[in-house]
């Protein structure tokens, strides 16, 4: 595992940038339960960083800490070289961190296009009065945002359902629309909470391809959670492995695969 802040080169020869986010000794408790115990790791610019672990390992809690939904009792989140003050989830989003949810949180009543356009909200700057008059600045801004949204819709191959209300879509397509909405924000970090959960093999392959393409085409930094080991190993540049709230491994997929603690956690060695 190469150190640190100035970046590294992956096994397949891609250049990865410096540290964009760093978790420092994060501990999260719910009452007496410690969901996350003193975990530290970093995310580099342009990499695909996975957090894996069996069910209940605290992966989703970790993602919720990054996106501001949970506030850790101890530890700090460093973002772009500075400790991040305590923030509400919407403020985190405004800072350029977009996310998807394990059990899909889309705007069911809106069309696919409208959903993707909400991803542009953080980029809309014109005031209420300018928008009421509509001509000029507000109109230009709307057109620009619309262009970004359409580009992403094309990229994720959901043109055919642009105008369809989201509530009518299949599970797999909903997941893709959610990805599109998060991407529309042009995030500095994209957080994906179990992007393949509940999908069939074909859908998983599609989603994997999209994640790789997004990273390749837009250079988006991606942090994702998954408990399907196979998928993650093919996708990610570096992997954090969690079990019972603790970090038991951190490194390239190859390193992690040969880590005895990780093998134990996945094969189910008895905990003492």
């Amino acid at each position: 595992m190469k150190d640190v802040n100035e970046g590294y080169t992956t096994e397949d020869g891609r250049k990865i940038g410096g540290t964009v986010m760093e978790m420092k000794n994060i501990t999260l408790r719910f009452g007496g339960v410690e969901a996350i115990k003193d975990i530290s790791f970093d995310i580099h610019e342009g990499e695909i960083r996975a957090i894996i672990g069996p069910n209940g390992a605290g992966k989703s809690s970790m993602l919720n800490v990054i996106s501001g939904f949970y506030v850790p009792q101890e530890g700090e989140v460093w973002y772009k070289g500075a400790p991040r003050p305590q923030m509400k989830p919407f403020e985190v989003a405004q800072q350029g961190i977009a996310r998807t949810f394990q059990n899909i949180a889309l705007f069911e009543g809106m069309s696919v296009l409208d959903n993707v356009m909400t991803g542009r909200l953080t980029h809309m700057k014109t005031g209420l009065w300018a928008q009421s008059i509509w001509k000029g600045k507000a109109e230009r801004e709307e057109i620009e945002n619309r262009e970004v949204a359409e580009k992403i819709i094309d990229f994720l191959e959901i043109q055919a359902i642009r105008k369809t209300p989201v509530s009518r879509l299949s599970y797999g397509l909903k997941k893709r629309v959610e990805l599109a909405r998060a991407l529309a924000a042009e995030p500095a970090i994209l957080l994906l909470d179990e992007p393949m959960a509940g999908m069939n093999v074909e859908e998983k392959e599609d989603m994997s391809r999209f994640i790789l393409d997004v990273n390749d085409e837009f250079g988006t930094t991606i942090a994702l959670i998954e408990h399907d080991m196979g998928v993650v190993m093919d996708l990610s540049d570096r992997v954090v492995v969690m079990d019972y709230g603790k970090k038991i491994g951190d490194g390239t997929p190859h390193e992690v695969r040969n880590n005895q603690d990780v093998i134990d956690a996945y094969l189910g060695v008895a905990h003492d």
């Binding site: 919407f90 405004q94 705007f107 998060a182 924000a185």
Partner: protein
């Protein structure tokens, strides 16, 4: 054409006009319910409070004058000036925005994620609180509200239509104020729909209405949107308050019109803006026509008081989500 038939048409027209006013109040309910899931019992009182404040500002009344006089032994009632209607409406709107902020800051911020029934109880408390404050601020006497809207029957319409019937028919009697109210309601609804569809804040508002978590994840502040929505509801309340106040004077029974909005919502559905309008019109026409055709001749009259509730009851039995509401499907 037979006079009886023409008279029925006039009844329908007047019913439509009355329905517009019901719809205006119902609209305020729908706005808040959609965006925050709160059934705002205080919407009617907000209309009353807006109307009281408007009259108070226009007349240059000293707010809390009774309280001040009782405490300090002074005798102040009026500033001695009159504020022009447009400026007064603007100032009243500022008061309603301040109210929206207070409601969010001091009440609902602490109740995020609570059961709907608790939120509902909070709005009942809010209704009584606001009624008390309104009384304390501006006094409880009935006031006339004249913002310069034309009032009284339209002679032009009467003259134009008098030829339709026989000797016993004197033309349609339609209050000019009702026509104005209709036009304003149409503009208001068009404005609200455009706002929700095409502006950043409108989009954020729809996002919050749809899914709180998802809205947070795209960078929308729930707090800001809720203040915005309460302000919008305050604005709708102000418009409704002006119309009702101009029609029948600003009095505390105004807050009871909120109850008429209930059957309107059951008909239209709690989540639909067009539903509030159509529901209002159906109730307005329905109760006038029922009174005219059945109530007055056969039931001894005064059916307008209960017709709307009976209709709502029927809807609850056969179509609980209302005409336009989202269908209630619970997955098990």
């Amino acid at each position: 054409m037979p006079d009886q038939f023409l008279f029925a048409i006039e009844v329908i027209l007047n019913g439509l006009m009355a329905g517009v006013l019901y719809a205006l109040v119902a609209l305020g309910f729908v706005l808040i319910y959609k965006a925050s899931g709160i059934f705002n019992y205080a919407q009617g009182v907000m209309a009353l409070f807006a109307a009281l404040t408007l009259v108070g500002i226009m007349e240059g009344q000293v707010p809390f004058s009774h309280l001040i006089n009782a405490t300090f032994g002074t005798d102040v009632h009026h500033f001695g000036w009159h504020v022009p209607a447009l400026l007064a409406i603007f100032l009243t709107m500022l008061v309603m925005i301040a109210l929206a902020w207070c409601v969010q800051r001091f009440v609902f911020r602490f109740l995020v994620g609570q059961e709907p029934i608790i939120l509902f109880m909070a709005t009942i408390g809010l209704a009584y609180f606001l009624e008390g404050v309104g009384d304390l601020m501006w006094g409880s006497d009935i006031k006339t509200l004249d913002v310069g809207l034309p009032q009284g029957g339209s002679f032009w319409i009467e003259e134009m239509t008098v030829g339709l019937g026989g000797d016993g028919f004197y033309g349609f009697f339609i209050d000019k104020l009702d026509i104005i109210a209709t036009v304003i309601a149409v503009l208001l609804v068009a404005g609200l729909v455009a706002f929700a569809q095409y502006t950043k804040q409108g989009r954020a508002m729809r996002a919050v209405a749809d899914d709180h978590q998802a809205a947070l994840s795209v960078g929308v502040s729930l707090n800001f949107i809720w203040i915005l929505v309460w302000s919008l509801a305050g604005f709708v309340a102000l418009v409704a308050g002006i119309m009702w106040g101009a029609k029948s004077g600003v009095q505390f029974s105004l807050s009871l019109i909120a109850l008429k909005a209930l059957p309107v919502l059951m008909l239209g559905g709690f989540t639909s803006i067009p539903g509030a309008i159509v529901g209002g019109l159906i109730i307005g026409v329905g109760e006038k026509l029922f009174e005219f055709l059945i109530g007055a001749p056969f039931l001894g009259g005064a059916t307008e008081n209960w017709f709307a509730y009976m209709l709502a009851l029927l809807f609850l039995v056969f179509r609980p989500q209302g005409l336009f509401g989202e269908k209630i499907i619970e997955r098990v």
